[in-house]
Amino acid sequence: MLKVNVSSLRVLQMLQLLFEKDYTMNELMAALSEVSKERCSNFLVSKYINTCRFCGIDIQKINGKYTLLKLPFGIEFSDDVLSLFDDIRKYSSELRLGKNIRAYNSLLSKINKRSDRYYSKIETPEDDKNIQSFEFAIENTLKINLNYIEKGKSILILCDPLELTSEGRKLAIIINYNGERKKILYQDVISIAASNIKSSGSILSTSVIFKLHNQLARRYTIRPDEKVVGIEDDGSITVLNKTEDKQSLLNRLLKYDTLCEIVSPKVYKKEMKQLIDDTLANYGK
């Protein structure tokens, strides 16, 4: 049995509680009593808070709750990383990447509690109704009624919402429509409304299989959502891609020229042929 110092153990247990969330004095007394299995009075908890403060751990009472703000021996970042936090803030405030920004801000809160500096969160304008509907539909696996502009025409479809993303510095949404992933710039969206029909999400996404040859097969980096499904004796590899937006994927595979060939599905092969013909038509060929 390890010999321990009960009083100092409670200081750490209280600190651990404050890392998780903010507490009123009564809540903290109750939580610490539960964790330490001994009744902790207001006097004791105040003493432990003072001990932490004495060591430079910044604990403040904000809106009636004890809040851990800074740790003097926590994470340290170089000046380069500090400037990156500024870059991220400047970059992201232009975008509304919905839950991505909320997740990033939640990470920053955790970092702030473990650091002796404060890193400002990203402030984004209040998400509008369309974004809220889009994220609500994803969370509740519902299809959406999407009205958007394509080539100057208003289009209304029932589709599966997949994710909020960006194209350069523009917000975009990714949907699954008839088994194909499609990226639509948010500026082209007229309205999004969650339906009450269950979404199939990305389950029905088309699986695209393509083959890579020669040096491309050797130097190609498999993307997180791809997998190699075959390796030939000559070094060629067969890759399965399930998640990339159709147009982005066709354009990307086109740049690999003859070192890449779509194997299936037929519709993608046909569309690639059409893309090649359309591109050659630009040169009168």
């Binding site: 390890l2 010999k3 321990v4 009083s7 100092s8 153990l9 200081v11 750490l12 247990q13 651990q16 890392f19 105040s46 432990y48 003072n50 932490c52 004495f54 060591c55 003097p72 021996f73 994470i75 970042f77 380069d80 990383v81 990156l84 870059d87 991220i88 992201s92 990447l97 839950k99 991505n100 997740a103 990033y104 939640s106 990470l107 473990r114 993303t165 350069g168 710039l185 040096q215 050797r218 130097r219 980096t221 147009q247 066709l250 354009n251 086109l254 740049k255 020229d257 003859t258 060939e261 690639m272 042929k273 893309l275 090649i276 359309d278 591109t279 050659l280 038509a281 630009n282 040169y283």
Partner: protein
């Protein structure tokens, strides 16, 4: 490390609690032996006396009871106590990792490599602080820099802008090693990979090396020649301009409602052709004729492939 308040400011504190926090903070920074820990407590001015080894051991046991994983002092730890994990470590959710991935992918698209290097440093610091191998692995693999030897990475970053002649050992995609000598030009990021571009000393052509394939930087010396990359001034017409992400170096010569004339300087013909092809039917290359003809020829071959 600590900014103790004066005792006058605090009415009630637990000295044993304060001592434990000091020890925890000291172990978070580096492995320590009993003497180190005693010295740190004294230097903090927490007490005027030295503690016995047993008192420090009880503090270490208390840390373990609080959830810290501390190794016993042994030869491998240079006979010091090493903090392996602790309950105050950063726990990062998959959703938070996904947000970092999204930010990284968006901010480094067509961007200067320096921002990717900063992200890589951020991910490494966070990975070290999670004390969780799985999360650390996910963080470190967001960039593909973990494939690069740290020694090579730091040496090449230090070479940026110096115009020196470098000799490197390079593994080609078939993993055959060879020595390459070139005038260092610049580092750039493409498809989440770091490349070194330079000028071959013999034929004065632009060369490009994937940093993850550089096994060693053998030599760096002052060169007689200045690095002058081959320049391909590419001019093209682009439709649906809003849908495409323009490269940062793109110069929009003219823009109508949905069509633009773009000018870009490429220092690598291969990347220029790839860029034009990736824009698909929305792009019509206007000049130079050399690249235009190569694009057409590649498309004709592709047409045969899909016939």
């Amino acid at each position: 490390m600590y900014t103790f308040q004066t005792k006058a400011e605090v009415t009630q504190i637990s000295l044993t609690g304060a001592r434990l926090i000091v020890i925890l903070g000291a172990l978070m920074v580096a492995p320590r032996d009993l003497q180190d820990l005693n010295n740190i407590i004294s230097e903090c001015g927490l007490v005027d006396k030295n503690y016995s080894n047993d008192t420090i051991r009880i503090a270490l046991s208390t840390l373990k009871a609080a959830g810290c994983n501390i190794t016993r002092p042994c030869k491998a730890t240079m006979y010091k106590y090493k903090l392996i994990s602790h309950p105050f470590a950063l726990s990062i959710t998959d959703e938070e990792i996904a947000s970092l991935k999204t930010l990284y992918a968006n901010m480094t698209r067509g961007s200067d490599y320096k921002i990717a290097v900063k992200f890589n440093e951020l991910f490494n610091v966070l990975a070290d602080y999670t004390f969780n191998d799985e999360t650390a692995g996910k963080l470190r693999s967001i960039t593909s820099f973990y494939r690069i030897s740290m020694d090579v990475y730091e040496r090449l970053l230090a070479e940026d802008g110096k115009n020196n002649v470098l000799t490197i050992i390079y593994a080609n995609p078939a993993k055959r090693l060879s020595e390459k000598k070139f005038i260092f030009g610049r580092i750039f990021l493409k498809s989440n990979k770091l490349y070194v571009e330079g000028c071959d000393l013999e034929n004065k052509r632009t060369v490009c090396y994937n940093m993850s394939r550089i096994r060693k930087v053998v030599k760096s010396e002052k060169g007689e020649y200045e690095y002058k990359p081959e320049i391909y001034q590419v001019r093209y017409k682009l439709k649906n301009i809003d849908y495409h992400t323009l490269l940062p170096e793109a110069n929009v010569e003219k823009k109508d409602k949905d069509e633009a004339i773009i000018n870009i300087e490429f220092t690598n013909k291969f990347f220029a052709i790839q860029h034009i092809l990736s824009l698909g039917a929305d792009c019509t290359i206007l000049e130079p004729a050399e690249i235009k003809n190569e694009v057409i020829s590649k498309l004709m071959e592709l047409r045969k492939l899909y016939a």
